[in-house]
C-alpha cells in the first residue's frame, strides 16, 4: 500500500512525507547524554580532531519516521524545542540535504525561504542584491524586473537602494531581504523562522504579507519555535520532539501539546508554599516566549504563553484561574484572570483531568529582570482551591522599548513600562491644574 501511495494520493495533497529519517554520523570523544549534547557534538565535531582520547563515530537520528501530508491551501506549522529536528525536516523538503530513510513527494513549484537575504553581498547595492537574491531564490530576471518596484516599495529602503548594503542597518538589510522573498510566487512555500527578525512594526507587516500568501490557496510549511506566530498563521500544527512527531492536529492543540511537553515545565506538585482546599490541583506550569525555548527570554513587550496542566474534574461551581507575575524582589506586578476573558474559557466540557489551559499574553511590558509566575484556582466567592507560588521562571531582556536608543527600565525600580509621550506648551496658554507655587505655599 505505501508503495502505491503516489498513485492513490488524493489530488489535493501537494506535499507527502513518508517515514522520513535523517541520520548524522558524528565523531565524539565522550558519550553524549542528551540529544542537545549530541547536537552540540554535531556542531563541534563534524571535523575529526586528533585527540589522545580515541574519537568514536556515532550515528545520531535527527529525524525518525516522520510522516505527514499537506494539502493545497493548508498551512502547517512545525513546532518543537531546539534540536527537535524541525530545521532538518525543512532542509530535506527544500532538497538541501537528503533523507537517510523514507521518501517525500512534492507536487508543484516550491520555494524555500530558510533565511532572509541569502547570498546578499555587502559590497553590492540594494538594487543589485535584489536581482542576486531573486535569482538565488529561483526567480527569473524578468520576474524580478516586473516586481522590482513593488519589492523596493515593500522594503521601505527606496532612498538607499543604490547604496552598498554594507552601509545598511541590520533592520534595513532584513527588510530588503524579506521584501524580495515576499514577492515569490510559489505553489508550495517552505518557511523557516524568518519572522524572528526586524523591528516589531516590520514583523507585523511580514506577518500580514505571509498571511496574504497563505490565504491565496498555496500550501505552506512553516517551521518555528515561535509558538505565537505558528498559532496565528497556521491551521494545523505538527509537534516534533527528539526527531519524532509527537502531535499532529489542530494548531491550538498542537501549541498546548508542545507547551505542556516542554522541559521548562515546572512540576507544581513539589511546591512547598502551597495553599488551598486542594480539590483541584495544578500539576505543571510552563512558560514559553514567542522568541524561543531553552531559556524563556524575551524583550519587552514580551509575548508569552503560560500553560497549566491540572486535575480539573470534580469542579462543581464556576471557577476562575489567575496568574500572577512576580519579580524576584517580591510583589505581584500583573495579574491575568480567566474572568477577564469574555469567552469564559473555563466553561467548556473539554476541561478534564490532564487538560492544559494556555494563557496567551499578547504584550507584557515589563522592565528587564527575572520574573516568576504564580497560579491560583479560586471559587467565584474567592475561596482558594489551589495556589502555587513562584513557579515558572522567565527573563525579560534589556531592550530599547521606548525607541530612545537606551535600554528602558535601567534607572528605576518601577516594573511596568507604559508607552507615553510628553509635550511642552508655550507659557501663555498653559493652564495646568494646580499652580506649583500655590501648591507649595
Amino acid at each position: 500500500m505505501p508503495s502505491e501511495r503516489s498513485q492513490t494520493m488524493p489530488e489535493s495533497v501537494v506535499v507527502s512525507a513518508h517515514s522520513l529519517g535523517k541520520r548524522y554520523q558524528i565523531w565524539t570523544h565522550s558519550r553524549p547524554t542528551s540529544l542537545s549534547d549530541k547536537l552540540d557534538h554535531l556542531v563541534g565535531a563534524v571535523r575529526p580532531r586528533r585527540n589522545p582520547e580515541r574519537p568514536r563515530r556515532e550515528a545520531i537520528w535527527a529525524l525518525e519516521d516522520v510522516t505527514f501530508d499537506v494539502r493545497r491551501g493548508e498551512v502547517l506549522g512545525i513546532i518543537g524545542p531546539n534540536g527537535a529536528g524541525k530545521s532538518t525536516l525543512l532542509s530535506i523538503l527544500a532538497r538541501i540535504t537528503e533523507p537517510t530513510t523514507g521518501h517525500a513527494e512534492i507536487h508543484g513549484r516550491v520555494s524555500s525561504l530558510l533565511e532572509v537575504g541569502t547570498g546578499f553581498h555587502p559590497e553590492l547595492s540594494g538594487r543589485d542584491n535584489i536581482f542576486l537574491n531573486g535569482a538565488i531564490l529561483g526567480m527569473s530576471r524578468r520576474e524580478v524586473e516586473e516586481k522590482y518596484d513593488e519589492i523596493v516599495e515593500f522594503s521601505g529602503v527606496r532612498d538607499f537602494i543604490d547604496m552598498p548594503v554594507k552601509r545598511y542597518s541590520s533592520g534595513m538589510f532584513v527588510r530588503l531581504g524579506f521584501a524580495v522573498a515576499a514577492h515569490l510566487d510559489p505553489e508550495i512555500l517552505l518557511l523557516d523562522e524568518v519572522l524572528a527578525v526586524g523591528d516589531r512594526a516590520f514583523q507585523e507587516k511580514c506577518l500580514a504579507r505571509i498571511s496574504e500568501i497563505v490565504h491565496s490557496g498555496r500550501a505552506v510549511i512553516f517551521v518555528s519555535h515561535d509558538v505565537a506566530s505558528v498559532a496565528r498563521l497556521c491551521d494545523r500544527g505538527l509537534v516534533l520532539n527528539s526527531g519524532r512527531v509527537v502531535f499532529d492536529g489542530a494548531v491550538d492543540e498542537a501549541v498546548a501539546a508542545y507547551l505542556s511537553s516542554t522541559p521548562l515545565g515546572v512540576d507544581a506538585n513539589a511546591a512547598v508554599d502551597r495553599e488551598g482546599t486542594g480539590e483541584l490541583r495544578v500539576d505543571r506550569i510552563a512558560v514559553a516566549s514567542a522568541q524561543g525555548d531553552g531559556v524563556v527570554r524575551a524583550e519587552s513587550p514580551a509575548e508569552i504563553f503560560v500553560a497549566l496542566r491540572g486535575s480539573w474534574t470534580g469542579r462543581t461551581e464556576p471557577l476562575r484561574l489567575q496568574l500572577g507575575i512576580h519579580s524576584t524582589f517580591g510583589g505581584m506586578h500583573v495579574l491575568f484572570s480567566t474572568d477577564y476573558d469574555p469567552s469564559h474559557p473555563l466553561d467548556t466540557p473539554e476541561l478534564g483531568d490532564g487538560s492544559v489551559v494556555v494563557c496567551h499574553v499578547d504584550e507584557l511590558p515589563l522592565k528587564p529582570g527575572r520574573y516568576t509566575v504564580s497560579a491560583t484556582i479560586e471559587r467565584a466567592g474567592g475561596e482558594i482551591v489551589d495556589r502555587v507560588g513562584d513557579k515558572g521562571f522567565f527573563t525579560i531582556l534589556p531592550s530599547d522599548y521606548f525607541g530612545t536608543g537606551i535600554f528602558a527600565g535601567d534607572t528605576h525600580s518601577a516594573p511596568v513600562l507604559v508607552r507615553h509621550h510628553w509635550e511642552v506648551l508655550p507659557p501663555a496658554g498653559a493652564v495646568v491644574g494646580v499652580e506649583v507655587g500655590e501648591a507649595i505655599g
Binding site: 563534524v46 540535504t97 537528503e98 523514507g102 508543484g108 530558510l114 533565511e115 559590497e123 538565488i136
Partner: protein, 285 residues
Amino acid sequence: MSASIEAGTLERSSPTILIRPTSGPIPPRLKELWAYRELFLILVWRDIKVRYAQTKLGFAWMIFQPLALLLVYTFAFSHLARVTIPGIPYPVFALAGLTLWIYASRAVFTGSESLVANITIVTKTSAPRILLPLAANISVIVDFLVTMVLYFVIAALYGFFPTWRIVFAVPLLFATFILALGLSLFLSATNVRYRDVGQALPFLMTLWFFLSPVAYQLQTPGLSWETIVQAANPMVGLILAFRWALLDTPAPHGLLVAALLESAVIFVLGIVRFAHAERTLADDA
C-alpha cells in the same frame, strides 16, 4: 466547468519532485544546470562587479598586481641573478608567463574558496553547488583579459607584436581553465569539511610557482629526473606553450602533451570528488 477541468490539467502538469535517499556520486545534472543559467550569470557578474566596482581603484588594482610582480621579478632575476633570455627582454619574457600563471592561481584560489565564501547558498538553498566554483573560475577570465592587455602594451613598448600564433592562446587558456576548474572542484568540496585547505593553499601555490617556469627559463632538456618533475607539473607545458604562442620561443611538444593529459585527468578527478562530496556539503558546513 470545462475551465476548472483545464485548471486541473494545468496543475497536474506542474513538476513532481521525489525526495529519497540516494547513494553513490551525484553526477552533474546538466538539465538542472541549464535551468539555473540565470543564477550562474548573476554569480559571475557579481564576482566581477565586486572585484572591480567595490573599490575606486578596482581596475587599477588588477593592473597594479601583475605590474608590481613584474618589477620585483625583473629586479630579482634579471638584475640580481643575471638571468638572460636570448633575444627577448626579460620583462616581456616574464610577463608572457605571468599572465597565464596569475590566471591559474587566481582561479584556483577563488574557486577553492567559493563554497565556503558562499556557504549560506549551500546550506539554505538547493541551487546546484557546482555553480559556485564554476562561476568563480569563469569570472577570473576577465582578470586574465585585463593582464593580457597589460602584456600587449608592455610587449609593444619593447617592439614585440603578436603573430598569427596568438590564436593558440585561446585553446591554451581553455586547457588552463579546465585544469584550474578541476583543482577548484576538488579543493572547494574538501574545504567545506576541512578548512585547513584554505590555510595550506597559499603555501602550496608558492611552491608551485617556483616549480613552474614563469620567471625563469628551463635549461635545455636532456632526459633526467628534472624532466620527470617538469612533465609532472601541467603548468610547465602550458606556460611554455603559451609563451611559444606569444613570443615564438621553442615549442614544448612532449611537455604540452603531458600537461593536457594531466589537466584532463585532474578535471575528471575534480568532478568525481565533487560528485561524491555534493550530497553532504550542507551537512558538513
